[in-house]
């Protein structure tokens, strides 16, 4: 792929330049589409898939600088390699293009040998970047993957306000004892698939899976307009999905699953911790600890979803809550107002 057969877009308002560049690229074995100004180019980039853009700077309607600015702001286009082809005079223009994210700069008239070398190098870089993204994507959610790309995997945290949710399977040990190890792995995979679906569907990010439990964050790394409502919506959907799964399990003569969910909201530090070779996205703060305690308390309270006062205050009036009063939770110095979400 890096050697030939890539799909390239040439944006140049000058027909002679456009035709010649297109021809040179076809001779190199690439497929070429052409745009006569920046606006047309951007429309095509958003509609079709390209491996690389060759961009002229001086164009009517929308010039090359504006195209670069729009591409940087667009998560879908940010990583597309761009080679600027321009006969603008001066190093300042070149520097500005590179600052705006262009990979390379070729002066016109374009030297065919340089053209070939730069195209291959850019395509190879893109291939490596795609590969890396694919790896990250397999091990992290797309939100975390994107944030990692943006922050360059920088370790360290930032202060955010968000909602944390803990969830785990009640009485998991007795379930594992009643079935084979293969059945347990399959059950966990089904469980995680359903939980991920509910959580990511509501805008949350799963950041830890431990045994039969998971932790997720709402409002980081990307901000949400309504982290409390999103977390509660996810929790209700999780309960519903588990009930549907139980109908199948009981029909097959297996034990039903029960889950507990604890949700708390507050200020926390979110970021990557670990080393540069292995890091995880996590949150640290009182709310994290509180959410874990609330989840543990669901058994004693005999309610599947428990939330703290901050989360309750963040919900809109339509949500039915049952106030359980001030509860002394394990590991907490003072009592905490606890609410159960109706399911």
């Amino acid at each position: 792929m890096a050697e030939s057969g890539a799909r390239l877009l040439v944006a140049d308002d000058n027909k002679v330049n456009r035709l010649l560049l297109g021809r040179s690229l076809e001779v190199l074995g690439h497929r070429v589409a052409m745009a006569e100004n920046g606006r047309v180019a951007l429309d095509m980039l958003r509609r079709e898939r390209f491996d690389l853009l060759l961009l002229d700077m001086e164009m009517p309607e929308m010039d090359g600088f504006q195209v670069l600015e729009q591409m940087v702001a667009d998560t879908q286009l940010r990583d597309l390699p761009v080679i600027v082809t321009s006969s603008l005079e001066g190093v300042a223009h070149m520097a500005r293009c590179i600052e705006l994210g262009a990979d390379d700069y070729l002066s016109k008239p374009v030297n065919p040998v340089l053209l070939k070398a730069r195209i291959n190098s850019s395509l190879e870089k893109k291939r490596l970047r795609d590969q890396q993204k694919e790896l990250v994507r397999r091990f992290a959610t797309s939100e975390v993957a994107e944030d990692m790309q943006r922050s360059g995997f920088a370790l360290g945290g930032k202060r955010i306000t968000g909602t944390v949710m803990f969830c785990d399977i009640r009485g998991f040990t007795s379930i594992t004892e009643a079935q084979t190890a293969e059945e347990t792995i399959e059950l966990l995979n089904t469980f995680y698939t359903l939980m991920f679906d509910a959580i990511t569907g509501a805008g949350g990010v799963v950041n830890q899976m431990v045994g039969d439990g998971l932790m997720s964050i709402f409002g980081a790394p990307l901000p949400l307009t309504d982290p409390c409502g999103s977390a509660v919506r996810a929790a209700r959907e999780m309960i519903e999905l588990i009930e549907m799964l139980n109908v199948e399990r009981e029909a097959g003569g297996r034990m039903p699953l029960k889950i507990g969910v604890g949700i708390a909201t507050g200020d926390m530090i979110a970021g990557y911790t670990g080393t540069h070779s292995r890091a995880t996205y996590t949150c640290i703060g009182d709310a994290v600890n509180l959410a874990a305690r609330l989840e543990a308390h669901t058994k004693a309270a005999a309610r599947p979803i428990l939330i703290d006062g901050n989360t309750a205050a963040g919900l809109d009036a339509g949500q039915t809550l049952e106030a359980l009063g001030a509860v002394q939770l394990k590991g907490k110095a003072s009592t905490v107002d606890v609410f159960a979400v109706a399911v």
Binding site: L19, L20, R23, V27, E58, S87
Partner: protein
């Protein structure tokens, strides 16, 4: 034709990279479609007193002239691109003459 009308080395390299037939078509596109528009735009921009339009048109013409190895035409266009609006159309008369020479030479070369 002097070697600065069309630099034979640049033209030969263009023909080797893109193919003789393609280069003939490209010369026709330049001479029949693009360049007359740019020359007209230079005159319009001068009449309208628009330095930016004038600079852009000169820039495009320079770019294409350099592509074909039309060195003299390219240098004249570059002078106009960087020099701002001229006081009168004398530089355009010179440019148009250089353009006529370049196009004659290009058509000749692309037939051969």
């Amino acid at each position: 034709m002097t070697s600065t009308t069309i630099d034979p080395a640049i033209f030969a390299e263009l023909r080797d990279t893109a193919g003789a037939d393609f280069v003939s078509e490209l010369v026709a596109t330049f001479a029949d479609e693009e360049a007359p528009q740019m020359l007209a735009e230079l005159r319009d921009a001068l009449a309208a007193g628009s330095a930016e339009r004038f600079r852009r048109a000169a820039h495009s013409l320079k770019s294409n002239a350099m592509t074909f190895g039309a060195v003299s035409l390219g240098e004249l266009a570059r002078g106009l691109e960087l020099g701002g609006l001229p006081a009168n159309d004398a530089p355009l008369v010179v440019l148009e003459a250089a353009y006529a020479d370049a196009v004659d030479a290009l058509r000749e070369l692309s037939r051969g």
